[in-house]
Symmetry: C2
């Protein structure tokens, strides 16, 4: 795609791809949205109030779309994928709420974060409520295999998030550890979301594994691009605060690469800004300039491209058709939004 177009106007090709998938699955998605609204209700008014702040913010619904699409790709004719798509969105929303407590992000989906509006306390507790509701949806689905997959994903997500805290500010972090973090915090739910689509369709283990691989690699690509965008995005277009990761001293691939490729003076810069978190307002621009000089952002996006290719390859066993095409285009969305 044209780089200049990305900087100026929406919708961009990648978002068209996601919109196309949503359009293809419109009825399923609308039913999922109704179920989400129904199940986040509670006699305790603050719960739907806070939860709807996030849900109504019109997230991309990328993760539940993966479940819906995977089920359709596998020829599932029933309705079980609806409940599980809602479940996946609840797990994601709960994670966002808890992540807001953690990261004190000023922006989330282009609106003030629930945390900033409502405070840490309700965010933690409403997140817990949504986790419980997510598991309730799985129980109603009744498949212990689905429960196992999504339980394990939940545990892996929190392991990834804790590992991320552990390596914060630590420039000695290696790429393998960084990958372990994003596998946990992002790819685990993408993988589970796609896998359960095959499970409800009663497809054989090989197809479950293929869809799991699709979700996993898509998730890694998605997060790599996200980490690149934190040093490159157009804040208005993405509803994301550029430089959040930098200000928190988060160890992402662009930082690891720029640090590894820098000279002694540059390394001193990274040690001061990331390890000791002594930052001046000008430091973010310097960080971006150093990344550009060493090709760290491009290299991160190229790495995302490798995982995107694996995600596409994982779809090979499935029959061609509109759903498979749309799922392939979503892979493009995840990478191209960075270009």
């Amino acid at each position: 795609m044209d780089v200049s177009a990305a900087a100026t106007a929406a919708p961009r090709p990648g978002e068209d791809a996601l919109a196309a998938l949503a359009a293809l699955l419109r009825d399923d998605l609308e039913e999922t949205n109704r179920l989400i609204v129904e199940r986040m209700d509670s006699p305790v008014a603050l719960i739907p109030q806070l939860a709807s702040h996030l849900v109504a913010a019109g997230g991309k619904r990328l993760r539940p779309l993966l479940t819906l699409a995977a089920a359709r790709l596998c020829g599932h004719a029933g309705r079980r994928h609806i409940g599980l798509a809602a479940c996946v969105e609840f797990i994601h929303t709960a994670t966002l709420l808890h992540d807001d407590v953690v990261d004190e992000s000023a922006l989330r989906r282009g609106r003030a974060s629930a945390n900033a509006l409502f405070g840490n306390k309700p965010s933690v507790l409403v997140g817990d409520f949504l986790f419980a509701r997510a598991f309730r949806l799985m129980v109603e689905d009744g498949s212990l295999e689905v429960l196992r997959i999504l339980c394990d994903a939940s545990a892996t997500i929190s392991e990834g998030e804790v590992l991320q805290l552990t390596i914060q500010n630590d420039l000695a972090t290696d790429e393998a550890t960084y990958l372990q973090v994003i596998e946990g915090k992002t790819a685990a739910l993408f993988a589970a979301a796609a896998e359960v689509g095959a499970v409800v369709a009663g497809r054989p283990a090989a197809e479950q594994a293929a869809l799991r691989a699709y979700g996993h690699n898509l998730g890694i690509a998605f997060q790599l691009v996200d980490d690149a965008l934190d040093y490159a995005a157009d804040q208005t277009a993405l509803g994301k605060t550029v430089g959040d990761d930098f200000r928190e001293g988060k160890l992402t691939l662009p930082v690891l690469l720029a640090h590894a490729r820098g000279d002694a003076e540059e390394r001193a810069f990274w040690q001061r800004t990331i390890e000791r978190q002594e930052q001046t307002p000008e430091d973010l621009a310097r960080a971006v300039a150093l990344m550009v000089r060493h090709g760290a952002i491009d290299a991160t996006i190229a790495r995302a491209g490798d995982y995107a290719a694996r995600a596409l390859a994982a779809l090979a066993p499935f029959p061609d058709g509109a759903v498979k095409r749309a799922m392939s285009d979503v892979v493009a969305f995840c990478v191209e939004r960075a270009r």
Copy 2:
């Protein structure tokens, strides 16, 4: 029991009752403890490190003991109750971790809270990890009925906690709402912990309901006493900071009663200290004095006695024996620790 003894020496009669139950179920409890340690492990070192801080602090294991005891009372001969007891403790520990974020408690089980030592971020995320592990244990148990019971308990816990935030500082709160809060934050898990003991034993619905009622009423009694102790406890003996609730402006029954029974000048005191949270170091002593004057603490403990009687009555259908006796004595523990 002798009031003066309670103020001076441990163990007190109530704690003897809990120790007796633990002794009666020693093998089961040890197996549960081993499983807890095994399942809170993770390659991410901070997770077992933080979790064991709470678990190793030697909590009373009251909730898992309810599961173990209920299963034994129902004649369960298998090992399923072990996994579910561990699961119940994980849910409880996760709730404590998230509650520490919320309440900024300085003390928890007589040690610095995990939150104070490790910070809010890891507490939230390790809590999430333990929730996921709890659900994994249920999935391994394989009973959808158990999963439903504990999922619903988890949702009810967070609803209770959010409702508690909603009424914070609000002296217009009525007793029904206060009861709804403690039903959620405390009684729901007590009820579920006891109920699943009957479920794994394959007992009929009436016995499941009876054990649920036992746990529910015990939980209410336990929390009422806890709320009374916050204005009366010997801090060293209980590892609890007296006045935490007061400093947070938490609306508990002692406050509601003292406020309702106070004159205009006293109401102004409660409005300043609880609603506006303008407090001086002398205010806690004044609050306690007003409660004593109006019998608010005694009335709260008397109310706990009513629920304790219901808990005892719920055990009536079960055969007499050592387990039933010990479960009855635990009810006494929950109330007598306040005397």
